[in-house]
Structure formats: structure tokens, C-alpha cells
């Protein structure tokens, strides 16, 4: 699913060069749930940004779902982000003046799907995260856990092959964090590959595999053992009915 080979990424100013990723190599198989851990400034978020095609890198190679995405142009990168990757952020990143339905609609708009199909996908995604009855609510009218579930619905509505989560429970209390994690596990069981950056060891323990990053390099790497995953298909409107356009 995700294969990075010797990826390097440095941030440069006139005076300073900071190496965020050094010879970073990682392989994530389809259906895996991987937790990426490491201290602050170790390069976890840079890895996630590069994996999500939000940032370019200086050297190395990156294959996503079998395709080399190392040197794609902006349009193609945007299309890959839109169609194959879902993002979940620590601070939810919902658009405050859009209601739940319209927030989930955002990525589908950029895919230029017909209205009926968008509605079907949004309904299915909100159903999956248990917020079908809140579609007309604004983010400010929801709890933190509900907001994160809306963000998950937004990521799922596009039927992504890869879900990238950056500290998805970082802003939640323990009860809500557990609910969100249960939901992520459920989504993973449905076949979606998840890569999650976290500080939380308990959260990391619930992933299939932990990858530790220190100083921009993977220091603790164990290959994936497929027997640990049980694959259940996603909701038909999200996965089956609508093809991965």
C-alpha cells in the first residue's frame, strides 16, 4: 500500500538546514493499522505530510498503492489526495461555518461527483460514524468526539485506500478517545489501511504494528504479519457501490 525508500526531507532557511527525514524507509501493507510513534521533532508529522502528498521530499522514492507518486505535479497530487487518501487531524479541522453534511461533502465536491452520489456517500459515512441525525448541526454544536467522528466520516466518504491520522485522540478526553479508536479499528477491519501518528503508548498498542521514528529515521521496524487482520467490507455506498474513481 505505502512504500517509502530512502526518503529525505530537509527544511532550509538562509542560515539553517534541518533534516526532518533521513533515508526514511517504510513499507505498509494493505489492510494494516500502523502506529508511528516518536518524540516531538522526530519527523513523525513530516512523514505523515509526505505520505499524504501534502509536502514534497528531496530524494528517495514513494509508491502508493503500487503507483510511483514521487514526482507528480500539483493536479495529480491533489487528485491522489482526494481519491486515495483520507486525513484525520488532531484538531479535527472542520470548517466552522459549514454544517456536518457540507463538511463531509468538501472532498467529494473536488471529485466532481454528481449530487445524488455525493448525498448517498455522505449518508453512508455519517451512518457509519453514528452521526446521521446530526447532519444539519454546525461543528460548534457538537462535542469534541463527535467532531472527530465527522472528520472521520469526511475521510471515509471518499472511500480512501489509506487513512492518515495525526494524533486523532490528542484533543479528546479518555472516553471519547476510546470511542474514536474503536471506530478506527472498525474501519480498519473493513479493509482500510490506517497509518496513525501518536504520542500515546496505549493508542499505539492497539495498532497492528508500531514504528518508532527518531531523528527522521525509522528505528524500530517489524514487518507486517497479515494473519492479525480480519477484513470486513466497507459500507456499499462508500466502498462497493461507487467505484474508486
Amino acid at each position: 500500500m505505502l512504500e517509502m525508500q530512502n526518503v529525505t526531507k530537509a527544511y532550509r532557511t538562509d542560515l539553517l538546514e534541518t533534516h526532518a527525514l533521513r533515508e526514511f524507509s517504510l513499507k505498509v501493507e494493505k489492510g494494516e493499522f500502523v502506529a508511528v510513534t516518536g518524540p516531538s521533532g522526530s519527523g513523525k508529522t513530516t512523514f505523515l505530510n509526505v505520505a499524504g502528498l501534502l509536502e514534497t521530499f528531496d530524494s528517495g522514492s514513494y509508491r502508493l498503492d503500487g503507483e510511483d507518486v514521487s514526482r507528480l505535479g500539483d493536479d495529480a497530487r491533489s487528485q491522489v489526495r482526494n481519491r486515495r487518501i483520507g486525513f484525520i487531524f488532531q484538531s479535527f479541522n472542520l470548517i466552522p461555518d459549514l454544517d456536518v453534511f457540507d463538511n463531509v461533502d468538501v472532498p467529494l465536491r473536488y471529485r466532481r461527483l454528481p449530487a445524488a452520489e455525493r448525498r448517498e456517500r455522505i449518508d453512508a459515512a455519517l451512518e457509519l460514524v453514528g452521526l446521521a441525525s446530526r447532519r444539519k448541526h454546525l461543528p460548534s454544536q457538537l462535542s469534541g468526539g463527535q467532531q472527530q467522528r465527522v472528520a472521520i466520516a469526511r475521510a471515509l466518504a471518499g472511500d480512501p485506500a489509506l487513512l492518515l491520522a495525526d494524533e486523532p485522540t490528542g484533543n479528546l478526553d479518555s472516553l471519547m478517545a476510546r470511542q474514536v479508536l474503536d471506530l478506527l479499528e472498525q474501519i480498519n477491519e473493513m479493509g482500510t489501511t490506517i497509518v496513525m501518528v501518536t504520542h500515546d503508548p496505549e493508542l499505539a498498542r492497539r495498532a497492528h504494528r508500531n514504528v518508532q521514528v527518531i531523528d527522521g529515521q525509522v528505528t524500530d521496524y517489524k514487518p507486517y504479519e497479515p494473519s492479525s487482520a480480519t477484513v470486513t467490507p466497507l459500507h456499499p455506498a462508500v466502498a462497493g457501490g461507487a467505484s474508486r474513481a
Partner: protein, 444 residues
């Protein structure tokens, strides 16, 4: 996708109502100043008879004092009017395929219609070619012929407004009008007709309405109708009678010739110069040969219908629009960068740079349109304000024509405002489109 961009643009404008209003107002102010200036410039610079402007020529002869030019500031310019002697001789020569001579006069109109009081009517005393040469439209009847000029025959052509006033808009051809002590039979009634600028008589109010009544040229001499316009004299002469006036060196007649091509123009120019030479032999026209023909556009330029001030004002107006736009660029940059986290989020969710730029350009288009509409309303108010500055009827009438809201200018202004919006918004939109999505995601 445009509908979605439009929705996002409206949402974005609603999110910052104060800032949006300020930007629309900045565009509106610039547009309003431009629209007012363009309206006036357009009125003074438009060609009033484009399809014949190359053919019609104002005729001038340098009959002025040998010791000083007609125009001290621009000594190369001959007088704009002719003496009666020269005008009638040139007209009678038949050297041009078609020509006319004329002047403006006035007399008391004595209406027969009950309830219409006598009024001072402006008269154009002209040879019969006036109507055909200047393509004047008739709603009833027509003009007169050369015999009527020479007679002169008591015929008159009424303007549409005069016909409305005297006959309630009926077909008055064949009916009688009394002007001064003379009765004239109505030969024709014009359609509403008011070329602007009034190119055929720039001596008597560039934006004035055409005359109320047109009379055959011969009536001027017979009735000794006075000149209501410029009469310029350079020589001290005894003028104790109208005949003395006609024989004087004073210039007061307008002359036009229809010269369909360059060859006709050359021939007529040669005719003018030969005539001037013949007059030199009699002791007149002692200045160097300087007889000129001006087509309509040259004539407008020669008479400085579009003054240098107009051009400078136009430049200043656009400069002001530029200053407004620079402010809008600054405000847009601040607004867009303030909303950059949202843009970063949209980029992360699949919006391409092109999507982002298009979305923001849609917003500035909307802003430009709003600024344009507001600017046009301000401009209409501004033009009305200019009209109100002038109390006297004569000046106000001129300014009403000058400051009339022109649909072409309104459309051009709307286009200009949209263009201004794009110009102001392109850089901020491009700049926000270049934003790396990851930069703002943490701060969202």
C-alpha cells in the same frame, strides 16, 4: 463547479461583512470617479456622425488681419467662420459636389394654438443642403430646394420638440407658423435629432440642442435676421446698415462642403486657394495662403471639444482607481492569508491549486461586480450632483446632455469593475494558491 465556487465566495464574503463592504466600497469609489469622468469624456469625444465624418468638411479661409493672426496662441489656425461675401461666393461657385452655408439666428414665435404663449425660437438660417448633408431624419415632409433659398420662399422645417409644442405632435406639414412678422408654411418636421457634440456649429454651445426652426438662407438677408452667435471682426469698418454688415470683413457664417474622396478634397482645396489668390489681387486676404478643410473629427479637435483638461482628468480618474485597487489588493491579501488555514484544509482534502485560485478569483469577481454596481449608483448620483451645480437654464441644459447616463458607459464601467476586481484579486489568489497545505493544518 462554478456554482460551488460561487457558494464558497458568497460564504467567504458573508464571513467578513465589514471587510467585504470596505473592499466593495474602495472599488466603487474608484469606479464611480472613472464612470463620471468617462461619461463626460465619452460625451465630448464621441463622433456624432461617424458614417459621414470623413466626407463632411468645414471650410475655412484665412481672411484675417495681415499684421496679426486670428489666434495669437496658435497662429497657424485660420478663423473658423467666413465673411458673407466669401461664403456666398464659394457656395455659388459649385466647386464642391455639395456644400452649404448657414448661421444661427432667432426671433419671436407666435403660436396659433390656444394656450401656447409666444416664445423666442432659435432659428437656423441655412441653404437647403443642410438636411441631406447632415443626414437629418424627417418624420413628416422634407426640406426645401435651391429655388426656395434664392426666392426666398416662406418655408420652414420644425424640430420635433417645436412641432410638439405648436401642433401637439401632429403632422403639421402644410400648416402655417408665424415667426416675427412673417408666416411660413411647414415643409417638414424632424425626428428628435440632437447630434452631440453639435459638430456643425461649435461656435454656439458645443452641447446645445439644435435649433427650433430651419429657414431658407435667403430670409437672412431679406429679413435682416441677426446673428445669434459669434460675429468676429478685425477691421474697423463703417456698418450703418445690414448691407454694410454683409459686405464687411466680419466673419459669422459657417460653411461645409461634402467631399467624397481625396481627389475631391484636393480639387476643392485648390479652388479655395485660387479664390484666395484672386482676392489678394483685390487687396483682401493679405496673409499667407492658409485655407483649410477639416473633416468632422479634425474639426472637433481644432475646436478643442475634448480639451487637454478632459484628458488629464481621465488620467487622474484611472490613477485614483489604481490607488483604490492597491488598497483592495492589500485587504484581499490580508483576508485570504487570514483564511489560509481553511484553504490549506481544502488543499489537503483534494483541492488543486487551480481549484483554489478559481475559488478566490470567483470571490473577487463577485466583489468587483458589487463594487461596480455600487460605483454606478454613486456615479449616477455624482452626475446628478454636477447638473445641480448649475443654476441657469442654459448651462444646465448643456450639462444635462454632457452628464446623461450612457448605457454604453454603464456596461463599460461594469466590465471595468469586473476587470478591476480580477486585477486586484489575481495576485492574492495566486499567492494563496501557492500556499503549501501542510503549513496551516496544525494551526487550523
Amino acid at each position: 463547479m462554478f456554482a460551488y465556487d460561487l457558494k464558497l465566495a458568497i460564504d467567504s464574503l458573508k464571513r467578513t461583512p465589514g471587510l467585504s463592504a470596505l473592499m466593495a466600497l474602495a472599488i466603487a469609489l474608484g469606479i464611480a470617479v472613472c464612470a463620471v469622468t468617462i461619461t463626460i469624456y465619452h460625451a465630448v469625444s464621441s463622433n456624432p456622425i461617424p458614417h459621414r465624418s470623413q466626407v463632411l468638411h468645414a471650410v475655412t479661409l484665412d481672411t484675417w488681419d495681415v499684421d496679426r493672426p486670428y489666434d495669437e496662441d496658435e497662429p497657424e489656425n485660420p478663423p473658423t467662420l467666413l465673411t458673407y461675401r466669401d461664403a456666398t461666393t464659394l457656395y455659388g461657385s459649385g466647386a464642391a459636389p455639395r456644400s452649404l452655408i448657414m448661421y444661427k439666428s432667432g426671433d419671436l414665435m407666435l403660436p396659433e394654438r390656444a394656450g401656447v404663449k409666444p416664445f423666442h425660437a432659435t432659428l437656423r438660417i441655412t441653404t437647403h443642403e443642410f438636411f441631406a448633408m447632415f443626414d437629418v431624419p424627417f418624420q413628416h415632409g422634407g426640406g426645401w430646394d435651391a429655388a426656395a433659398d434664392a426666392g426666398p420662399q416662406p418655408l420652414a422645417v420644425l424640430s420635433a420638440e417645436t412641432n410638439d409644442k405648436l401642433f401637439g405632435g401632429d403632422n403639421s406639414v402644410g400648416r402655417t407658423v408665424k415667426i416675427g412678422s412673417t408666416e411660413y408654411r411647414v415643409a417638414g418636421v424632424l425626428e428628435p435629432w440632437a447630434p452631440s457634440p453639435k459638430f456643425f456649429d461649435l461656435n454656439n454651445g458645443v452641447f446645445e440642442d439644435p435649433e427650433d426652426v430651419y429657414l431658407p438662407f435667403g430670409w437672412g438677408r431679406v429679413l435682416e435676421l441677426p446673428v445669434h452667435g459669434n460675429t468676429q471682426c478685425w477691421k474697423s469698418e463703417n456698418q450703418s446698415s445690414y448691407t454694410d454688415f454683409l459686405n464687411s470683413e466680419c466673419v459669422w457664417l459657417q460653411a461645409w462642403a461634402e467631399l467624397p474622396d481625396a481627389r475631391a478634397r484636393e480639387r476643392y482645396q485648390a479652388h479655395l486657394d485660387n479664390y484666395a489668390r484672386s482676392q489678394k489681387a483685390t487687396g483682401r486676404m493679405q496673409r499667407p495662403l492658409n485655407n483649410r478643410l477639416y473633416d468632422v473629427e479634425q474639426w472637433l479637435e481644432r475646436n478643442e471639444v475634448v480639451s487637454r483638461d478632459n484628458r488629464v482628468l481621465l488620467g487622474i480618474a484611472f490613477l485614483f482607481l489604481g490607488v483604490c485597487l492597491v488598497n483592495v489588493v492589500g485587504l484581499l491579501l490580508a483576508k485570504f492569508l487570514n483564511a489560509a488555514p481553511l484553504t490549506g484544509l481544502r488543499r489537503a482534502l483534494g483541492a488543486s491549486r487551480r481549484d483554489v485560485v478559481r475559488q478566490h478569483v470567483t470571490e473577487v469577481l463577485l466583489l468587483g461586480l458589487a463594487g461596480g454596481v455600487l460605483g454606478i449608483l454613486l456615479a449616477i448620483g455624482g452626475l446628478a450632483g454636477i447638473r445641480m451645480l448649475y443654476d441657469d437654464e442654459y448651462t444646465r441644459a448643456s450639462y444635462e446632455r454632457l452628464t446623461a447616463v450612457d448605457p454604453v458607459v454603464v456596461l463599460a464601467t461594469l466590465a471595468l469593475s469586473v476587470l478591476a476586481g480580477i486585477v486586484a484579486g489575481l495576485y492574492p489568489s495566486w499567492r494563496i494558491g501557492r500556499t503549501a497545505p501542510a503549513v496551516y493544518l496544525k494551526s487550523q
